[in-house]
Symmetry: C2
Subunit: 143 residues, 2 copies
């Protein structure tokens, strides 16, 4: 597949990380029982990683701990092709340190006595602006 | 992993489809080179399928045609855990019929002379409401 960083509307790694910092919800994309799976999560960027709050009792940590996952965040609105999308690919690992600084930032997403968190390393970061181009060619998410 | 349909905040298939009909952007989740991958797309529900507009030159159709993919749509806002998420799992196939009725609905997403479309069969449809519960327990996307 053509790399999302191809083309004039691609974003640099720095731009991707800056844009990701403007939203609080993303989606962990992984493989479960050999099928593609996806789960929305709250997240923050901390220490060069994406840190996500694992939905309680979801089994997400068990399904993905140690595995390579994708994480996607975007702001595309809900009405048409306009905005940006960023995808991170990297290894996921369960956060076991109770003093991890990302925990506080994710407090709104936690519930119950034993919240779980995962860090996803930003090994590959790609992104694009999406929407009508200056040439009027329309959707260019991966043109 | 615990099924997203478990629990009191799960949505029926009909509710899922109704909610999906209120947004125009979703994400195709698939496997590429043995790694999880994700791509935002414009979509409509038509004839019981999710029909997506394939970003031009993205190779998405080649990567997923005939494969089982996931498709996720949500309305979670960008600021915190509130809203809904729906995931469809089913087989993807390239739309080859130039008269396919979904094409017109996706006109805003097309560009170039040969737009591509895919249908994803709604074999499995699951969803949940996400957000603070009535008991104040916070995020329950998959509790």
């Amino acid at each position: 597949m053509k790399d999302l960083t191809d083309g004039p509307r691609s974003l640099t790694r720095g731009e991707c990380l800056d844009l990701m910092g403007t939203v609080k919800v993303g989606r962990v994309v992984f493989t479960e029982h050999a099928l593609p799976a996806v789960m929305p999560v709250g997240f923050v960027l901390e220490g060069g990683d994406v840190v996500v709050c694992v939905p309680p009792a979801s089994g997400l940590a068990a399904a993905t701990g140690g595995a390579i996952v994708a994480f996607e965040a975007d702001d595309l609105g809900t009405t048409g092709p306009a905005g940006w999308t960023v995808t991170v690919v990297g290894r996921a690992r369960v956060v076991r340190d109770p003093g991890d600084p990302a925990r506080r930032a994710l407090a709104a997403w936690t519930s119950g006595p034993r919240p779980e968190f995962m860090r996803i390393s930003c090994q590959r970061v790609t992104g694009r602006r999406v929407g009508p181009s200056s040439t009027g060619e329309g959707y260019e998410a991966a043109a």
